[in-house]
């Protein structure tokens, strides 16, 4: 008995640990293979340089944001102010860029601001003893209000960089390099330092982590700060895409992040099975559908439905009873 037990347990356990990851990698590989085979039949190719560039520009903002958001989601938290943060950062970068003629001051202001927002989002939960989604709702509304006031004062719905050349941010190579660097840095922080390890532990069991000497307040705020910096990087590319920001920039991005992370096999309640790669895999899966579905002749209005159905399938396949709780 002991013998048979020993042999089969590791396999089962491997699946328990990595099942969601395997399923999501499988999904991405399936999409890549499917589009590689089907698109040439219709005289297109997903591997053409133009399409790869499109894919890169479609995926970059979501991927950069989601990688950062892994730190928040692994805590079992949900931040719905992300979209408005991106909107505000992009607006500041364009506005300050036009004032000063350089993007650097705007980016620095955004970095400072992101830390402030991270502290508000991360610290108010434990300090005031409320679930963390509440402060993020408040932050979202405040940012949304600021953005509305800014644009109605300016008397326009969008502002554009005038003198600064932003074409460099359209380069797929730069996008890839920045994404690779961000993934490398965050993966290091997530897997080989205390912040990441503690984030997962706090997500899995706050009480037990606390009794093992993990400060909820300190590390939650750190996680939000790391995420916030990633959001600023994402905002640079969001802004650099068209050199502009509008009152609707970023709207709904937090939902894109959630969809990307779940497609990537991130447990919705956070904890030990959280992975940085979930963000990348999920964001690419979603974008490859964005780019690929029209290429196999699916009308644009259908793509939303198809993506929703695929999302549902993934959720049904990867969800487990115990982990069915929603993040807070």
């Amino acid at each position: 008995m002991e013998e048979t037990k020993k042999k089969s347990v590791p396999l089962k356990e491997w699946w328990r640990k990595n099942g969601a990851a395997a399923a999501s990698y499988g999904g991405l590989i399936f999409c890549i293979i499917l589009f590689s085979i089907v698109t040439p039949l219709r005289g297109e190719s997903i591997w053409s340089p133009a399409k790869l560039a499109t894919l890169m520009s479609d995926v970059i903002v979501t991927a950069l944001m989601s990688v950062g958001a892994v730190f928040i989601y692994s805590l079992g938290n949900l931040d719905i102010s992300i979209g408005k943060q991106i909107g505000l950062y992009a607006t500041i970068m364009v506005f300050v860029g036009n004032l000063t003629g350089s993007l650097i001051p705007g980016i620095l202001i955004c970095l400072v601001l992101s830390v402030v927002i991270a502290v508000v989002n991360g610290a108010s939960g434990p300090l005031l003893n409320i679930i963390p989604i509440i402060p993020s709702v408040v932050v979202m509304q405040v940012l949304s209000g600021i953005i509305t006031v800014v644009f109605s004062t300016l008397g326009t719905r969008s502002i554009t960089l005038r003198t600064i050349d932003y074409s460099v941010f359209k380069s797929p190579v730069l996008m890839f390099v920045v994404l690779a660097i961000e993934v490398a840095v965050t993966a290091f922080l997530f897997n080989y330092t205390r912040v990441g390890k503690y984030a997962r532990m706090l997500g899995a069991n706050k009480v037990a982590a606390g009794q093992s000497g993990v400060s909820l307040l300190k590390f939650r705020v750190l996680c939000y700060i790391i995420a916030g910096i990633c959001f600023v990087v994402a905002a640079v590319f969001q802004m650099g895409y068209t050199g502009s920001a509008s009152d609707s920039t970023g709207t709904g991005f937090e939902m894109n992040i959630m969809v990307a992370l779940i497609l990537g096999g991130m447990p919705i309640s956070g904890g030990m099975r959280s992975r940085v790669s979930a963000a990348v895999v999920g964001a690419f899966t979603f974008s490859i559908l964005d780019v690929g579905l029209p290429m196999i002749g699916l009308p644009t209005r259908m793509t939303f439905i198809v993506k929703a159905v695929i999302f549902l399938i993934v959720v049904l396949m990867t969800s487990r009873k115990k982990e069915g709780t929603l993040p807070k």
Binding site: G43, E44, A50, T54, S57, D58, F151, S152, L154, G155, T156, R157, S158, I159, T160, Q238, Y241, T242, G243, S244, S246, D247, S248, T249, T251, D290, V291, L293, P294, M295, I296, G297, L298, P299, T300, R301, M302, I305, V306, V309, I310, L312, I313, L316, M317, S319, K321
Partner: protein, 405 residues
């Protein structure tokens, strides 16, 4: 129990996957049919390709008409087409993304119904021919507009606005309507100025014109408040009618899609007695539902100004000429064309529109864009056609309510 749940879950996933596979397959096959039907133009020396229509609506009479028009004319002229949906808030990045994702190697032309990110789209796809529809494209034609660079791009052929591009003209038209109707107390509501700056101009023009009229008039007209009540993309608040200044209105001028944003609160205010039962609504745009259609001309909505959807012909002509390499010889510079209003001011005109026009039903056999019109204005058929003539046609009564009598 647990087992059962698992089975249901897997079964549901399987069913979804099946439905998905089927829908993708059918999606493919219909699209296949479309493209094979289109490519074989009658003329041997015509150029084909795909035209994208970036729409800012996804339902309603205008959408239905646009689809019907594209169905008919892309096939007639040997093109295919696809509708893509612009960002719901006209965000530059969103629009660019929509175009990028739909881009295939055979796309030759783009009709845009909103202007965000236009300069980026045209930088990204310099070969693409672009033309605007139902939009005054202020960002292109104002000096410091975000897309001002596009105005001089030789691949951009201007735009036809949804009605007057100039707010002053709109204001004068509406002031005259008020004076002619004999109203004595009116209110103005409008969509926010940051999205529609021309409406703020129109609002002020109405007030100036009425003030000028009052100097000589026997019974002066009162326009309540100092400026229009702003509707932030949502219906007028019911409390509007409780304010003392808003009692006993003869009419409300809606500088917006008034059937959507003003009609519902107004009709319920009339029903509940908070508003004068004879209050009329003068507004823009047209909704397709039968009760709203029945109301126009006799009920609350006394006058409706509808930019004629058929002006999409402007886009088709400019794109086709360019794609075939035969642009009007006298065309030099892109511009904004005023849209011609279909002015519905009576029940009779409304039934004309209902029965004799394609505007509510997308029936292209009732269209004013007949084969003769195409023969006359498309350079592929008539090499002598000029932009001057075409422009005159686009601005003529051929597109007004008179066309459907």
């Amino acid at each position: 129990m647990k087992k059962f749940r698992n089975v249901t879950k897997k079964a549901t996933a399987a069913v979804f996957a099946g439905v998905l596979a089927l829908s993708v397959l059918t999606g493919c096959s219909t699209a296949d049919g479309g493209s094979s039907g289109g490519g074989s133009g009658e003329d041997t020396n015509t150029v084909g390709g795909k035209i994208l229509l970036m729409s800012n609506v996804s339902s309603g009479p205008m959408y239905d008409y646009n689809i019907a028009f594209m169905d008919k004319w892309t096939e007639e002229l040997g093109y295919t087409y696809e509708v893509v949906y612009g960002d719901s808030a006209n965000d530059p990045a969103g629009n660019l993304n929509a175009v990028k994702n739909a881009m295939t190697s055979d796309v030759v032309g783009l009709i845009v119904m909103q202007d965000g990110g236009l300069v980026d789209i045209m930088t990204e796809y310099p070969e693409l021919y672009v033309v605007g529809l139902g939009n005054d494209m202020l960002s292109v034609y104002s000096d410091d507009g975000a897309n001002a660079a596009v105005a001089d791009n030789d691949h951009f052929f201007g735009t036809v606005a949804g009605g007057y591009a100039n707010g002053e003209d709109t204001g004068k038209m509406l002031a005259q309507t008020i004076i002619d109707a004999g109203y004595e107390k009116v209110a103005v509501c409008m969509s926010p100025a940051f999205a529609y700056p021309q409406y703020a101009v129109a609002d002020q023009t109405i007030r100036e014109e009425i003030a000028a009229y009052n100097e000589t008039a026997e019974t002066p007209i009162e326009v309540v408040d100092d400026e229009a009540t702003v509707l932030m993309f949502k219906p007028l608040d019911a409390t509007f009618f409780n304010e003392p200044a808003h009692q006993d209105l003869d009419a409300i001028i809606g500088l917006c899609a008034g059937q959507q944003f003003i009609y519902p609160p107004l009709s319920s205010a009339i029903a509940s007695g908070t508003a004068n039962p004879d209050t009329k609504l003068i507004t823009f745009g047209m909704e397709g539902s039968s009760d709203l259609v029945a109301d126009v001309g006799t009920g609350i909505v006394q006058q409706l100004y509808v930019p004629n959807y058929e002006e999409i012909f402007f886009c088709m002509a400019m794109l086709d000429n360019a794609i075939q390499g035969k642009q009007y010889s006298d065309y030099t510079q892109s511009e904004v064309l005023d849209g011609v209003y279909v002015h519905i001011s009576s029940d009779e005109i409304m039934s004309n529109i209902e029965n004799n026009s394609p505007l509510l039903n997308g029936d292209m056999s009732k269209s004013i864009i007949t084969d003769e019109v195409a023969q006359k204005y498309l350079t592929r058929y008539n090499p002598d056609a000029t932009y001057a003539e075409f422009r005159e046609f686009m601005l003529s009564d051929a597109f007004s309510e008179k066309a459907y009598e």
